[in-house]
Amino acid sequence: MFALDRHASFFQHSLRLLPYHYTQTDTTRLALVFFCVSGLDLLGYLPVGDRQCSSKSKITKLDVEHWKEWVYSTCLLPTRDAFRCSPATAVPRSSASSSSSSHFDQFDYDAGHTAGTYFALCTLIILRDDLSRLDRVGMMRWLRKCQRQDGSFAAGLLRSKHNGAGAALSDDDDDNCEQKFGERDLRFGYCAAAARWLIGGDILARKKIVAADIAFDSAFEYIASCISFDGGIAMSPYAEAHAGGTYCGVGALCLLSQRKISTVLADAVVGDLVKWSLMQQVYAELDPESGSEDEIHSEPTSFSSSESPLRSPVVDRPAGFSGRTNKPPDTCYSFWAGGTLAMLELPVTSSSSSSSSSSSSSSSSSSTGSLRLLDIRANIMFLLTQTQNTMIGGFSKVAGTHPDIMHSYLGIAALAMCAETIRQNGGPESFVKADTELDTIASILPLQPLDGALCLSTSALQYAQELRSKWENE
């Protein structure tokens, strides 16, 4: 059964205090906050909007205000055009040095971060902040500056110390550009595309309130250059196709094209992406691999399971998603692959197409795209029986390891998409192999619907759309 209240408890505790082993994620604390807040939103625990909040929730409106202020504390001042990814990088400046003209003296390390900006904006939207404290025009300019000549986006920008606030940085050759920093992969292109949409950057560009939009052609070219021989998208050119890279690539295209993917991707490519994503669904092994090297050092947690589903016949076994070919399933890929499928529709030819509504319309439902093609039951069973922790809440990466915030949120996000797919395709009765499974499958239905493209609740999405309408009419 889905332990909804336990997970809410897990997120609430995490927002107050994190164990020591989270120091390695200290530089992405804004991600952790987003995961907890959005998780609580999906669980129906947030007193926001006009939706009924769970009676078990102890979260107050004061908490919501406190969280908003915390997010704003990571906003760059005085420019208000970007967010850090964590308070940890708000390092004090060293005093201006006398004569050296080295790189380190020109730039300030207290930098804005594309992912941090995306997480901050999402969190604020979920908490129903109207973003009026931001310089959205400046933020759009900042996002454009993050784009390299090859179309990819940087993790962030180092601000020039000597120039004044808002001074334009020159558009250097991207390989020698000292302002852009960090990894070079698709994640930041996704974050930039999402941030641009959330602040109505496209509206600002169309109305010429900001001089130019981001460069579409090169952005598309970069994403295309990441398509791998097997039809999936890699994090960067030359790398292996990866469910996370595929989500980021498709997500960026979806958001940049105003959710009209068919205008930017050929049917054949869409078909390949759907097939690749479906191919990543794999059965859980009887002896799952213990956590890989990057697993946070942790003790295995015991959780009760009355009967092991791994002893059932193969066809009834749980099946999660792997991130790459020939890898074992991991909780988060249920979201990355699932989210990709939610955004893509195969050209409709069959009568088995779902009654998915257009994603830009009503708040109570969301587009589930090609999600109906995956084995929903096996996916739900994988998450609930293999990686869910019913004792302290949350989800772990693989069976037998400690739950962590990211996998907890993405596991729940994946289940929220499954819940919506079930609602749109005949209800839980259509997804069980035996009546005894009905309660288990139905236990995820209280989850709020999730928008696959932005990875937040559809009610938060609706609020974002209201803001955009307001900006459109200004």
Binding site: D26, S94, T325, N326, S352
Partner: protein, 322 residues
Amino acid sequence: MHSVKRERTSAKAREERRRREAGKIVEYKALVDKVLTSRKNQNYTPDALSLTTTLLKQNPEYYTIWNYRREILTSIFLAQPAETIQSHIDNELQFLFARLMEFPKCYWIWNHRKWCLETSPSPPWKYELGLVTKMLERDARNFHGWHYRRYVVQGTEQATGKSLVRPEFDYTTTKIKANFSNFSAWHNRTKLIPRLLKEEPDIDARNFLDNEVNLITQAIYTDPDDQSVWLYHRWLITSDDIVKLSSDERKDLLNKEIKSIQELLDVEPDSKWCLQSLAFYKCLLASLAGKAVESSVVGYLDKLQDIDPMRKKRYEDWKVQL
């Protein structure tokens, strides 16, 4: 009763752990303050370097501290002879090696290693290639490793003026011959082949393709359940990146492969990959020839719904589209 007892013990254990952790967190925060204050005061001494060492050992993801470490090193290197700098760099590389053993997927560690190579008066490219080869032996799927390998290969090519595409290609061949089920090796091959054919125009591309097909056929017969060999096969048969085939040549190739896979299917009637590939290639052949899809394909898709039930709906869709 038993579960109640467990609850009590674990609550106590949790409280113990909480207290220990609170202590660790206080210590960590104090160290961070110390390091950041040191930077604020423009301390670029060896002592400052040690401070960053301690902190980075605990949290290599704290990229600001790597930046500070580079400031310190740059300052130490000022007006120093090449040997001194090289000696410092060698120490850095040792330090980084130990960090990589513990955190092989931390971007900032690999990034600092690159900085060391770029700052080194005499970058040890050969050593680095050996190192990254060893890292990839430990974990062939570590994409940080593969990125770094490409960086080292490029650096070596720039330093020597000679292309390494042939040795890199031969490296993938070695990996594959040792174990056909090696997705990373096949994947890298798809990136290297177009470049190899471009740089060695004497190679008969069609001959090359035929040899590759022979190789992958061996792999398929040896490891018919491995996904990677079938994906590579599909790329070989359908891609224009190796050699541009005429429509007739493409049809001939498809027919040949269909026959080959059919033979394997006769021996392995429940092979999901045989069935899927046959269905795919027969559909492709039909569209190239402008004909209707062979009726056998329906049979394949029906069978696939049974043996690959996870993707049942996908096969249903496919049938409808025929």
